[in-house]
Each structure stands twice: as C-alpha cells, then as structure tokens.
Amino acid sequence: MQVEKFYYDNKTVKWFAYAVLFWGVVGMLVGLWIAIAMYYPSMNLGFAPTTFGRMRPVHTNAVIFAFVGNGIFMGVYYSLQRLCKTRMFSDTLSKIHFWGWQLIIVAGALSLWTGHTSGKEYAELEWPIDIAIAVVWIIFGINMFGTIIKRRESHIYVAIWFYIATWVTVAMLHIVNSIELPISFLKSYSWYAGVQDALVQWWYGHNAVAFFLTTPYLGLMYYFLPKAANRPIYSYRLSIIHFWALIFIYIWAGPHHLLYTALPDWAQSLGVVFSVMLIAPSWGGMLNGLFTLRGAWDKVREEPVLKFLVVAITCYGMATFEGPMLSLKSVNAISHFTDWTIAHVHIGALGWNGFLTFGVLYWLIPKMWNTTLYSKKLAGTHFWIGTIGIVLYAIPLYWAGFTQSMMWKSFTEEGQLRFQFLETVTHIIPMYVTRSIGGSLYIIGVFIMIYNLRKTILQGSFVSDEAAEAAPLPVVIPTHGHEYWHRWIERRPMKMMLFSLVLVAIGGLIELIPTFLVKSNIPTISSVKPYTPLELHGRDIYIREGCYLCHSQMIRPFRDEVARYGEYSKAGEFVYDHPFQWGSKRTGPDLARIGGKYPDSWHFNHMLDPQSMSPGSIMPSYGWLFDENIDTLETPAMIHAMKILGVPYPDGYEQEANNDLRAQATEIKASLLDSKIKTSSNKEIIALIAYLQRVGKDIKAAPKEQTALSHDGTSLMGN
C-alpha cells in the first residue's frame, strides 16, 4: 500500500508548553502569596486586589484552567496527532484556540482581581468570559474531532477516549453551571438559588476535578507512560474497563461536598455510595499505570521522566483513596470546612497534575528540539525538592485540619465549648508557616526545571514540522476474530462522544431533576423574606470580596455547631440566595446566624481593623468599603433581575427600591452615631452591615409551632 508523507505540528505544542510554564509560575506564586497571608495578614496590603478573598480565586483559576488547562492542550496536541497519524485538523483553529485561551486567562485574572465574580467556586468568571470559554472550547472540539476523523490509524487508542469524554463532559458542566442572568457587563446572578444552586455547583465543582484535572491527564498517562517506559500499557483490557467505569461513576459523586448540609438526604446518600465505588476504577487506572513499569524499575532510577510519572500516579492513587474516605459521612463530619480538604486537593494538584506535567515537559522538550535533556542531575534535584515540597505542604495541613476540627468539637465537663473559634485558628498558625515552606520548595523546583529546559532548548534546534509517514486508512478495516459491539463504537468517534455524553448525562439528570421538579424538595419557610435593596447591595459586596472563601453559611446539625453558631441551617432559608453562599472552608467562623449577634458598630470597627475587635485574627482589613459609595444606579436592574428569577418583590418595586435603601441606610447611620461613629449613609460598609445583620435572622421570626418542631433533631436531618 502507498505510504503517505505528512508533518506533525510541533509549533502549537511549543506555545502551549511555554504557556504551561508561564501560568504555572504565576498561579503558584499567587498561591504562595496567600499561603503567607494566612499567618501574616499584612500581605493583604490593605489593597482590594491583593486581599485573600480576591487572590484565592485567581490562584485556583490560574492553576486549574491556566496551568493544567494549557498542560492538557499541550499533551493532547502532541499525542493526538501521533495517535491518529495525521497533522491537526486545522492550523488556524489551533492558533485561535491557543490565543483565545490565553486571552480568557488574562481577562479572567483581571476581572477576578477587580472583584468581578459570580461567587461560585471554580466557576467564578463572569458571563462574557463564560461565553468566550464555551466558544474556544467548541473550537478545540472541532479541531480535535476533525483530527480524529481524518486519522490514518483505524483504532482509536484509549488516550483519545479520555480526551473525547473530557471534551463533551466539560462542555456540559460548564454550560449548565454557568446559566446566569446578566444585569450589566461583568455582573450576573446565578439562575439557581439556594439548595438547587448548591447541588448544581458541586455537581460541576466535583466534576471539574474529574473531567478537567483527572480524565485528560489519564489520557496523557496512557500515551506518555508507554512512550517514556518504551513498553505498552500493562493491560489494555483494564484500560477499557477503567475508562467506562470511571466516567460513569464520577458524575454522580458531587453531593459528597454537601454532606450534613441542607441538601436532601437521598441526594447525599447517592453521592456517598458512588464516591465509595469510585475507588475501584481509580485504583484500576493507577495499578495499570504502575504495573506498566514491572520489570523496568531500574529505568525509573535513572530516567527523570519516569520518576515524575511514578510519583504522579502514586499521588493519584493516594488522592483517589482519600477521596472516597472523605465522602464517608463520619469522616466528612471531621474533615469538612478544615484544611484537611486543602491538603487533599494539593496531593492531586501538586502530585498528580504538577508532576505529570513536569514529566511530560521533560520528555517533550528534548524530543521537539531534537536533542537530549541538558541535565538529568538537575531534573533529579527538581524531583527531590518537589517531592519534599509536597510532603512539607500536605502533612502540616492534614495535622492542622484534624486538630482544628477536634478543637471545634471539644466541650468542657460543664458542657461548654472548650475553645473560642479564634483560639483554634491561632493554634494552627505554625502549620500554615510550614505549609508555605513546602510550597516554596515546590516552586524552587519549578524554577530549576525552567532553567534546565531553557538550556535544553538552547542546545537543540526546534523541529516545527516533524516529518512522518503512514499508510492511509483502508476502506475495509480488517478484523480479528469476532466483531463485538465495542469494536463498532470504538471506530466511530462521534458516536463515542454521544455515548459518553449519554452516560454522564444519566448521572447528572437523575441527580438534578428531582430537586428541580418536585417543589416540596425545598420546604418554604413563611418567615423567610426577600432581601431589602440595601441588603442586596451588601450581599453583592460580600460576594465581590470573596467572603465565602473563608466563611461558611451552613450550620450542620452537630452539637458543637449548634452550640457555637445557633440553630442549624434549613433548606428553606436559602430560597432567595442567587447564588448560594454556603462556602466550603472555615478559615473564619460560620456566618449563617451572624445577623443580630453583634451591634452595627462592632461590624464597622471589625471591617476597618479586624484585629482591634478580635486580637490575633488573620482577617484582612477592608478600608475601601469606607470610601466607596453604594452604586444606587444599579438598584433597579438588580431588583428586576431578582424578580425575573422568581423573588417576589411587588410590581414596580424597581423604581421604589432606592427610597427603601436610603431609609434603611439612614437607620444604620443613626445606630452607628449612637456608638459615636460618624459615617456617611451612602458608603459600601453600610450596605455590608445591613446584609450581615440580616443573615440567618428570618427563621427566628418563624411561628412557634415551627420552632418547636425544629428542635426535634432527628426528624429534621437533611432538611
């Protein structure tokens, strides 16, 4: 048969590789910055863009979507061409994809720093950027499927299945979770409210981990590990089962982020069961990776690429063992809201994603520059510094998380809480210090790698278009033995995509639909009323400053939480919360019942100088709230949007809202004046105080019958 000559496009891969390095450094430095801010609050600089609440989403988004995102594209653009034995479908689309993605990252970082956020973790970017993401993702999809369709290899290797599942599932998750109502350029409200918003958000949030941080990297593992070890994957059979079981089960696991919250019990249980089952395919994949190296462990000692891959796969195994354990309700009761979770995700981020990316870079760069790695010794140094960095990062945080949780739950013999919240924070400060040392080591390793790769690039010469040859795809593809159904689907990429979509959609639909359709899923509480216009402004400020990143608004039905914060949270309390603000971490105390707990003057002083009211507090100060004015021009649009979303404001209230706003602001101004604090009633701090004084208060006005019932703990669990 005639052999065809063609060229692989290495240029796009090179650009993505540079982007990985650049954004990796940016994302990690921002992470280190906020890690230090957690024990040295002066790092917040008293400047809005550098406060923890704004830097933290920049860190998470940069690491997930910029560092790992570009890592995915780098690996996919390299391996897909070679697995399909063809050049990418379109060089133009590759270029648009690359620059489009980098523009999104820049716009995302700038908008987050300036306080434009939708307030949903890992989906913080506002609506115009959400749309841009969808467009660029579709361009990537066209380029990918175009390449698969014009392939010269009849079989679609398992790595490509992972890429297909990634593409289709991320598209679905992103679109469903980003449905929001724009009220201006760069501002919108989530279409969903309260419990429903929480369920959709964590269905998205967990599967962002699954289908952005895991499945595409598993695809990379299935290509680069055999390449680097120069031997086929241990069991191709296992990889097939690994793939289908993993994508099917993963999609169900989201509700494990909401255990003991106001989410319906049945949804919590479904999340737990599937999370526990997830260990099987995850470990199947890990073992498949590690067993590939059986009999080749001598190579691992010498080859830096394999070292990084082995630790990456091991960390994958550790994180996917820990994940199901953390999904057990009894473990989650301890771990949730603490630094334990942060340690857990960094085993994944630093170990699995980071080390796998480094391994691929050490392998790719010499290949594409037609040379050998400048220094294996330096790569070895990077490996050890990075590994020690991960250990020093994770262990103190596991310790901190467990210790703090135990302190929260500790009672004296007289039945009083043993520790103030602040005592549990100051106690773990040394762990925060150690963690930042671990993080610093990890980043030093990255700089060593960049130096090493730079030297490698200088000694080689870049092969922009790499020549290759292969026979064209035969018209009739020969088969061995029997044709089974899987063989049928495995040759048809578009059908494979549809099949993956059906699989992941089943999980999503069964989980989400009942919560949406059955009205009684959210028992309404008659005393829960919409926010006043001033409170709504305050809530927007609360979201803008990222308060939810350190403060939860979800009291779980535990003795210590009820004793510390007040009555546990009910689903019906959040029906007007677009978006929900339950949070996932308690660096500071829960705020679900903060309303009425302190006088207005306390909040005023606390926001200006937290340490003056709570000595030892690590909270940043929010000076600009005392200078900036409330944007009353936006009030009608805000009320109108809320009305469209179903919040029962009276007809024509858009125009009257500002009158109510001014009246309430004047009251707060007067109450502050009673405490000898003079301020103007149109400052943002007034709106924030109004909101904080409202949170969790409505339920206190509930009729007696309700209060009596709500003290009957067991029958209300999960409500």
Partner: protein, 55 residues
C-alpha cells in the same frame, strides 16, 4: 408551615437510587464481558500504537 421530610413528598424516591444502580450494573457487566472476551491479538495491536516510531 411545617418542615416536612423530603422522602414523604417525592413518591418512591428510592427509584432514583435503584435505577442508577441497575443502569450502572448492566453497563459495567457489558463492558467487562466485552473486555474479557475481546480478541487478544487485537488488544495487543492497539496497545502498541503509542510505541510506533511515527507515533
């Protein structure tokens, strides 16, 4: 207004859990059966794809 447990309101909510298990179970069995019965020569051939000198 009373707080009411969800399970009383969604008629036979267990159907969601059972359905998901049945769907997964059948699917998992089908995939496993195929993987176990698949032709070894073909699987070997596919698993060699990344090792091709042009790949």
């Amino acid at each position: 207004m009373k707080f009411i447990h969800y399970l009383e309101k969604i008629s036979s909510v267990s159907i969601y859990g059972i359905t998901s298990f049945v769907i997964f179970g059948i699917f998992f069995l089908a995939v496993s059966l195929w993987a176990l019965r698949a032709d070894k020569k073909m699987l070997d051939e596919i698993s060699q794809i990344p090792l091709d000198k042009n790949a």
